[in-house]
Symmetry: C2
Subunit: 187 residues, 2 copies
């Protein structure tokens, strides 16, 4: 497990000691395509790292479903509200392909945070990077038109474009599927 973690980008900033600590609590696990790994109405007691496959996080509304995050190999994956506030969250996470995951209990992760300064700072930086990326997306919604946001998605995530249904990409970009079709048709 130590060797496995060592090859994951997000762990590369950690010392060997911290990585061994992580490895003690980490499990390798597989789930098939279509699995709803995390449900909005439950407290999810695990934290995951995607090793292969892709996933999406979405929120259910009255008559629509909003996809607001995609995860690829190497990304961390958890229920924000479980992780941060120990409450049921607003997001579901669905595996869009068969996935191989690292699984760690939140309780174990938190004791690592409390007992190891390096890991606490690792967790801090992880949250900060997500924060800055999310804020950029929020700002881009005001600055850029839907066509431009689509072009950026194509440039930055060509792999996702091929593997994810367009209806999910549409809601990720903040438009309806009809609008995305229009953009793609170049009209």
């Amino acid at each position: 497990m130590y060797q496995q973690l060592k090859n994951i980008e997000i762990f590369k900033s950690l010392s060997d000691d911290s990585l061994h600590e992580f490895a003690k609590h980490a499990q390798d696990i597989n789930y098939p395509k279509g699995t709803i790994l995390i449900r909005a109405d439950r407290v999810e007691p695990h934290f995951y790292v995607l090793q292969s496959g892709i996933a999406r996080a979405y929120s259910d509304g009255e008559n629509q479903q909003i996809t607001f995050w995609f995860g690829e190999s190497g990304n961390v994956l958890f229920s924000f509200n479980s992780y941060i506030n120990n409450k049921p969250g607003y997001e579901n996470i669905e595996l869009l392909e068969d996935c191989r995951l690292i699984q760690i209990k939140l309780a174990d992760l938190f004791s690592l945070y409390n007992g190891n300064t390096e890991i606490a700072n690792w967790g801090r930086k992880m949250a900060e990077q997500e924060l800055i990326a999310t804020e950029r997306r929020l700002i881009d919604r005001s600055f850029k038109g839907a066509a431009e946001r689509y072009q950026e998605f194509v440039n930055q995530s060509p792999a996702l474009l091929k593997r994810v249904a367009l209806k999910h990409i549409a809601s990720y970009l903040g438009v309806t599927q009809v609008t995305l079709s229009r953009i793609r048709a170049g009209k």
Copy 2:
């Protein structure tokens, strides 16, 4: 300074020891209304806590300015990209009233993070709370119409409504000032 920090909500989860550590590096500072405290094109070497007054963060585009954050008494205030990546950021921060601030050098904050597990976890939680709030706003842009977003702003931030120019609130909500006027007129 220790007594002063002790009364700020965001520091209340810290032990006395950690608070004394903070106090060693904290300074009390005042700036007048209109000050551009943080500029997008510079690395900002400080981290601030607002003690009184209000502020906004905004990003400049070609022909518009997007306000994406408001700060009130008790909020932390920093340049994300300076703080997180040590690079010039995308945001300016303007003081909308005379403000009293706590100022701490980022270099000092980072050494606190690296030397004190409790403070590292405090910083982690701070980033996590901002993250969850930002993500909610992003999701709400898709789920809710502009009129509903305005109503929520009115309910959640009545103080800001009175003290901030409507043009800034409009861009915070992701609409033009004309649209916000229409919403307010109930049309």
